[in-house]
Symmetry: C2
Subunit: 145 residues, 2 copies
DNA sequence: TCTAAATTGAGAATCATTATCATAATCAAT
DNA sequence: ATTGATTATGATAATGATTCTCAATTTAGA
């Protein structure tokens, strides 16, 4: 049993939910795939692999992952939610290429520190944040020439 | 004529669009209202004031404002786009209270500078970014006790 | 094994936003 | 000012992502 399965199982029993093969199947597929996947992409992928699960269940299960702390949902402004595993992953932010949709992750402790200062100045208790830089990636910039 | 009207007019003539009373009415109402307004809120407000304009036109006009550089659209994750006048306004980011939905603006040049460094490191050409801090504001924190 | 409670899948419902299209308004040239 | 071409408007339909509904199925625990 992977650590992620263990976390999911603990969340499930804590909330008197039930362990199902669908939930394991979604977790397995989710872990095997690229980060920042949409529900639709995950659905298609599982269907192609013969591990079909209803789309509604994909959504429900991804939300369950978020509630259990395994994953996070992101909105990059294209109208579809994206999900990424965050268990055992350092917090990071994103660079998004508007031309090829490439997503690059970055970490910057200095920025985080400054954010905390801003929050403190306004007496805000922060529980999450997001920082996204939109632009054109190196490859696309080169190809544009 | 306000400076904003002037900008809109220039954008309109540059793109061979047309000046209409609806566009002026929306601009007037938009400028008079609080920042970070939704299309629906603007629509309701104008209806109540007797300056009724169709909802589709509100959307079209707000997008026109964004194209002309007068306004920007924001997504704070509640499923509705919000718009704010940005002409002659310094760039800023947002603190968002998840309890009372209050939105506080802040400016931080140091964070911006660090963002530029991150972009440079990844050879990204940035044309926009967004930074949002989600949490509980001072008032709500106090009231929770 | 039995039963209560949770889960699933299919499709309906929802909600914000955009598209459609007939009618009306605007603009530029006369 | 009138005309003609083009764009804008408003009402409503359409869209697309996500959630809800509900009957049938599966799970957990006694």
């Amino acid at each position: 049993m992977t650590k992620e399965e263990d976390i999911l199982k603990k969340h499930i029993s804590k909330h008197r939910l039930k362990v199902t093969k669908e939930r394991y199947a979604v977790l397995k597929a989710f872990m095997a795939l690229e980060r920042h996947i949409t529900a639709e992409e995950l659905y298609r992928h599982m269907k192609d692999k013969g591990a079909s699960v209803g789309l509604a269940t994909i959504y429900r299960t991804l939300n369950l992952f978020c509630e259990s702390g395994l994953a996070e949902q992101r909105q990059f402004g294209d109208g579809q939610a994206r999900y990424e595993l965050t268990y055992n992953v350092n917090h990071h932010d994103h660079l998004i290429c508007r031309q090829c949709n490439k997503i690059i992750e970055f970490e910057n402790r200095e920025i985080e520190k400054l954010q905390e200062e801003v929050a403190k100045k306004h007496h805000f208790k922060i529980f999450s944040h997001r920082l996204e830089l939109y632009g054109t990636c190196a490859t696309c910039t080169k190809n544009n020439k």
